[in-house]
């Protein structure tokens, strides 16, 4: 079942990238997608049934909108710090605990943190994420972990766990 999901996704990706709906192109795409799913199929999507729950798609959309908004904010934030003559930075690496369990959800959270204002994920060891922050706003671990993970953690928990 996992292999089928990977096959379908790679096939869709191939068709979008090449965008020619001739028979030869579709056959070539099927061959490539089959090889891809044979090699990488076992690494992805441990529970395919989750794809079919509408509730998860709803939270995914909420997450996507929040994510795009955070990205745009991040850009203005960096532009402000770069253009400001005094360069208001207060960088450092902070430790943040995560409650997410699955690898996929953690990867998504790490990627989201990297794209949000002023933070880059450096490493994940066990339950702890190490995050480089360009302007540390608080000294209290409880306050800053809330600021760093934002609402992403609860949204990702709702659709990916």
């Amino acid at each position: 079942m996992r292999y089928v999901t990977v096959f379908i996704l790679s096939m869709i990706f191939w068709l979008l990238i090449t965008f020619r709906f001739t028979v030869s192109n579709i056959v070539a795409g099927a061959a490539v997608a089959a090889i891809t799913s044979a090699i990488f199929g076992r690494y992805y999507f441990h529970n395919v049934g989750k794809f079919l729950q509408p509730r998860r798609w709803f939270w995914f959309l909420v997450y996507l909108v929040t994510f795009i908004w955070a990205c745009i904010k991040a850009n203005f934030d960096v532009a402000y710090r770069v253009l400001h003559p005094g360069m208001p930075i207060r960088p450092g690496i902070v430790k943040v605990k995560t409650t997410l369990r699955s690898d996929f959800a953690r990867t998504l959270l790490a990627n989201s943190i990297t794209m949000t204002p002023g933070t880059i994920t450096v490493d994940i060891i066990g339950d702890e994420m190490y995050i480089h922050w360009i302007y540390i706003r608080s000294e209290d671990p409880a306050v800053y972990s809330r600021m760093v993970t934002g609402r992403f953690e609860e949204y990702i928990k709702k659709f990916a766990e």
């Binding site: 990706f13 979008l16 990238i17 965008f19 020619r20 990205c71 745009i72 991040a74 850009n75 934030d77 960096v78 532009a79 710090r81 770069v82 253009l83 360069m87 930075i89 207060r90 960088p91 450092g92 690496i93 902070v94 430790k95 790490a110 990627n111 990297t114 794209m115 002023g118 880059i120 994920t121 450096v122 490493d123 060891i125 190490y130 480089h132 360009i134 540390i136």
Partner: protein, 105 residues
């Protein structure tokens, strides 16, 4: 018209990213500017390309490139930051906190 605006915004953000690369003090802060501004700048340019060509062959390719760019840019940033820290790149004097040093000796 929308295409021209989006491409201009994208080029502008790429410029901010490059300025950040020059102005910010250490490797970690520079990478912040490089990932964020350049990724969204390129996404904006790709969206502009999509508007310019319409939803045909080129437009769809530009649209598919956006999520691919997001995933590769974030993973590359993480790998570079981690690699730099393990290599021993110093953080700037203005840094106030470093929890990661407990782990990396």
């Amino acid at each position: 018209m929308a295409a021209v605006i989006l491409i201009s915004v994208g080029v502008l953000f790429n410029l901010f990213g490059c300025l950040g690369l020059l102005r910010l003090p250490d490797m970690y802060n520079r990478l912040q500017a490089a990932t964020k501004c350049v990724t969204l700048g390129c996404c904006s340019i790709l969206l502009g390309v999509m508007f310019h060509y319409g939803l045909g062959s080129a437009g769809f390719r530009a649209l598919v490139a956006i999520p691919v760019l997001f995933f590769t840019a974030t993973v590359a940033a993480h790998a570079l930051v981690r690699g730099a820290y393990h290599f021993g790149t110093k953080m700037d004097k203005r840094s106030v906190k470093d929890d990661y040093s407990e782990i990396v000796k």
